[in-house]
């Protein structure tokens, strides 16, 4: 490290002008990156990791500016360079891969053209051979049939394929520095592995330096030489990735590592050590937690715990719908099928005029005859990669989507036969509720937290006057650990974890028997995720609910679920006790999924 480093960030401070005055997103940080080195910047949302990289590329938006310090790239001061000089650097010397690859590509321009644009811009190709070179670039990121894909639009490609195109864009001009900003967030584990392996291989082969920005400490340690941990705009720790896992020095790093779901820990282990853990609490008692917000629930059940054998009603109304006795599980799904018309298949009038039947069947089976059951008090994980049909299944069980064939029995009644549009008005609606993936998008931005929580009570419950509803909301808020004074805030005034709590409170407002959790923590930071997962477990025990937990994260499923169902292309590949399936998987596909989870060097 004696020569000039490729990138040298000294004492960098980035400010943003907002309506409430100047905000410092990054304060006095130092970073160095040698040639050929891979560096990870790890931190939770708001830690300033992305802002740092934007400052390096100088693509901060209008409100942001480098207030202090310097960024030197191969000796050139990025702060003082002219805009033209920076434009020449971007894409040619330093480039970037973004989160959400589909949005990062121009939706109405052929992907090959987009690569060619950059090649022509940086004089790596003339207009007559740009197309040929763009195909080569696609070839290098191992896109099958690159010549055909040249003419594809982003919406015609899968998420992983789009990310390969974005990588091809970033590497087209063979830059010296690649910044990958959460390159695999939102991608499936197997795709994540393929994409990361590709990035590492291509950058190593070309002697490039890489900065990987991620919230996932495991991913960072598995793929990088060094790790920089950031918290609230400051660098709190810099260390070799091997060392940081063995002996994290800073408290925040320890907290982050603790909160990351991994094999061999319980839900309780995810929480910070100093959180209260022994406050005695009777079953069924309302969890009165401190108003501090993201603090831990005091009582936690472990994974190994067996499902509740006794389906005791938690409230009187529970039993009246004629529960079929203890023998039958709460939810039984048999040979469930959902078909969609295949895209581009002739429909309606056109079908009549079609000359001959199309070679492919006109329908696509998103869910292909699956059967499973959920017992009372049990939580079942539904795992698989995007497009495997897990969300479609959960939507059908939730009765938001009509099935094509098969049977859905809930608490002894065949709810599969009730059309989805009628189901919302039935009393059974209150017994199956859902927590949605995106805590922000699933709340009405014009409703306060209290109004959002009260919504199901007003629609389906016995409302019983303003004060009663308000009291119930406060009860629920206490139960999910949402400070009462936040009840009158609007969603944009709440943090991600608080919004997740509102979503959970809304789902449990009617004391349902079954809650469908559709990746409820996917949009949350790990430390918040740890708290929310513990809260969910706690609520399940208190309220004796069953969970159908839809997720792609096997480590999270491991912690929360008694049983797990692995799905692929609409079929169940494997199902069984979580510990058994994840320790000794029978299906190859499950093994692939497990192998794709990044393993930090331990």
């Amino acid at each position: 490290m004696s020569e000039v480093p490729l990138l040298d960030v000294r004492d960098l401070t980035v400010e943003f002008h907002t309506r409430r005055g100047t905000v410092r997103a990054v304060e006095h940080i130092d970073l160095t990156l040698a040639k050929g080195e891979t560096l990870a910047i790890v931190g939770e949302s708001g830690s300033g990791k992305s802002v740092t990289s934007y400052a390096v590329m100088r693509i901060l938006d209008r409100a942001g500016r480098i207030a202090e310090g310097s960024v030197r790239f191969t000796g050139l001061n990025v702060h003082d360079a002219t805009e033209e000089a920076m434009r020449d650097l971007r894409g040619r010397e330093m480039s970037m891969i973004f989160q959400n690859p589909r949005a990062a590509l121009n939706p109405i321009r052929k992907v090959g053209r987009q690569i060619a644009d950059i090649l022509v811009r940086h004089v790596q190709a003339a207009s007559n051979d740009a197309a040929e070179k763009a195909v080569e670039a696609l070839e290098q990121v191992r896109i099958a049939r690159p010549r055909e894909r040249y003419h594809a639009y982003p919406f015609e490609l899968s998420g992983g394929m789009c990310q390969r195109v974005v990588i091809a864009l970033a590497l087209a001009c063979r830059p010296q520095l690649l910044i990958a900003d959460e390159p695999t967030t939102g991608l499936d584990v197997t795709t994540q592995k393929a994409v990361m392996d590709l990035v590492v291989e291509l950058t190593r082969e070309r002697g490039m330096s890489t900065i990987l920005i991620t919230h996932d400490l495991g991913l960072a340690a598995a793929y990088c030489d060094r790790v920089v941990v950031m918290e609230k705009g400051h660098v709190v720790e810099t260390a070799d990735s091997k060392a940081i896992f063995k002996a994290p020095a800073h408290g925040y790093t320890k907290k982050l590592m603790r909160a990351t779901p991994r094999p061999g820990v319980t839900l309780r282990d995810l929480l910070p050590e100093d959180s209260p853990s022994t406050s005695p609490r009777l079953r069924g008692e309302v969890v009165a937690r401190s108003a501090a917000g993201e603090e831990a629930p005091p009582r936690i059940a472990t994974v190994e715990k067996a499902p509740h054998p006794d389906p005791l009603p938690a409230s009187g109304e529970r039993e009246k719908d004629g529960v079929g006795g203890e023998a039958e599980p709460l939810l039984v799904v048999e040979k469930l099928v959902k078909e969609y018309p295949r895209q581009g298949a002739p429909a309606g009038l056109k079908k009549l005029f079609a000359k001959r039947p199309s070679p492919e069947p006109d329908v696509f089976r998103a869910v292909d005859g699956i059967s499973f059951s959920v017992d009372r008090g049990e939580s079942v994980g539904l795992v698989g990669e995007s497009g495997c049909g897990k969300s479609t299944t959960s939507m059908m069980v939730m009765r938001l989507l009509d099935k094509t064939d098969g049977m859905i029995r809930f608490a002894g009644g065949d709810i599969g036969e009730i059309p989805a549009k009628n189901f919302a008005r039935l009393p059974a609606r209150s017994r199956i509720q859902m927590v949605f993936q995106d805590p922000t998008d699933s709340l009405n931005p014009r409703f306060t937290a209290a109004r959002a929580i009260a919504d199901p009570i007003l629609r389906l419950g016995e409302a019983g006057g303003r004060d009663a509803v308000r009291a119930r909301c406060e009860d629920l808020a206490r139960q999910v650990g949402l400070p009462i004074e936040l009840l009158d805030r609007f969603p944009h005034q709440l943090s991600g974890g608080q919004k997740a709590r509102v979503g959970i409170a809304r789902a449990i407002a009617l004391k349902p028997d079954l809650i469908i959790l559709d990746e409820p923590t996917a949009a949350l930071d790990v430390s918040v995720q740890a708290v929310v997962l513990n809260l969910l477990q706690d609520l399940k025990d208190t309220l004796r609910m069953s969970y159908l937990f839809v997720s792609h994260d096997l480590n999270v499923v491991r912690l929360l679920c008694n049983r797990v169902i692995v799905m692929r292309t609409g079929r169940i590949v494997e199902q069984g006790e979580t510990s058994r399936v994840l320790k000794a998987p029978e299906a190859d596909y499950t093994r692939d999924l497990l192998a794709a989870i990044p393993h930090p060097p331990l």
Binding site: M57, R87, M96, F98, N106
Partner: protein
């Protein structure tokens, strides 16, 4: 593509039938008795009854409607009572006048509004942005007859640049042979540059009046749509890859921002085509809007029905054109269609 066009036209048939029925009923429901109007103020009851029988207005409504529908099927829109001309001929003569005026107005408007909107979006809060806001607000707040009269006053009366605002062509010129019905195009086809210049001179002021009025929706929509697209991820990618600001703004952002602009264009066009009566009045323009209004005042059913039907058909055609444009701009729309 052809299949899509056919499908769209098939879908439009029920709405056109609906338009035929509703306009028929509406004209019958209007106050005023055409028989009394045309028999004259001094006519006796018998004379009025005679006129009514002659017009077929004494028949029950279903019979009247059947006759109207049968005529329509033969392409006969009826005859105007005030002018004595067949409605179809009148519309054929007047529609191109209105369309030429509106199109030119819209082209001028787009040429000013779209660049203005883009400039305003790339520099929000700047002088250009404020200028854009002031100009468009002023343009849309001034009534068209006022803008028209100001333009006539300044450019005809004070400066003498423009010819007298008296219709499509100065009296010393004869109209070019009708091929498209657009004087500008017809005179070019006939290679008659003199007539072209004269027709353009007549057209400029009313077109400018319309353009000033329609600047606001187009410029505002361009600005809003560009602002949204410029904040999107793929524009950031394009910037991070060092593409020039021109490429980023024009090739990447603008094409994506065009969809809402095209929709607005279609709405503004169809609105202006039927609603620029005031401009037609100020410039003595023999357009379709003033024709319809005059007929309406005279309780002259046939031209009103013909006008509404023509506008409905035009609207269907316009929407089809917009959808085709959508498909050309955005490949995702192409697949769905």
């Amino acid at each position: 593509m052809l299949a899509m066009i056919l499908k769209r036209l098939l879908v439009a048939i029920p709405s056109l039938i609906g338009v035929v029925i509703i306009t028929f009923l509406l004209t019958r429901a209007l106050p005023g008795d055409p028989a009394a109007y045309f028999a004259g103020p001094a006519a006796t009851q018998e004379a009025i009854a005679q006129v009514r029988a002659k017009l077929g207005l004494d028949q029950p409504l279903p019979t009247q409607f059947m006759r109207y529908a049968a005529d329509l099927a033969r392409g006969d829109l009826g005859t105007s009572l005030t002018t004595g001309q067949p409605v179809a001929t009148e519309i054929r003569n007047r529609l191109p006048a209105s369309a030429e005026l509106t199109l030119l107005g819209l082209i001028i408007s787009v040429l000013i509004a779209v660049p203005l909107g883009i400039l305003a979006a790339t520099r929000p809060g700047s002088l250009v942005d404020h200028a854009c806001r002031v100009l468009t607000t002023a343009g849309v707040s001034l009534p068209v007859f006022f803008t028209g009269l100001i333009l006539v006053y300044v450019f005809y009366y004070l400066l003498g640049f423009a010819p007298a605002p008296l219709g499509r062509l100065d009296v010393f010129f004869s109209a070019p042979e009708a091929i498209t019905g657009f004087y500008l195009l017809d005179s070019l086809i006939a290679r008659d540059l003199e007539t072209f210049r004269a027709a353009l001179a007549q057209l400029l002021l009313p077109a400018l009046t319309l353009a000033i009025f329609s600047l606001a929706p187009i410029a505002r929509m361009t600005r809003a749509s560009m602002l949204a697209v410029l904040a999107s991820d793929f524009v950031r990618t394009a910037r991070a890859n060092g593409l020039t600001p021109f490429t980023v703004v024009v090739t990447y952002a603008f094409r994506n921002a065009m969809l809402p602009v095209v929709t607005t264009l279609g709405m503004v066009f169809s609105f202006l085509l039927g609603a620029n009566v005031l401009v037609e009045k100020v410039f003595a323009w023999p357009g379709i809007g003033s024709y319809a209004v005059e007929a309406l005042i005279a309780s002259d059913f046939a031209p009103v029905q013909g006008f509404v039907l023509t506008m409905a058909a035009l609207y269907v055609a316009l929407n089809l054109v917009i959808d085709i444009l959508y498909g050309l701009i955005d490949p995702r729309v192409r697949i769905e269609a």
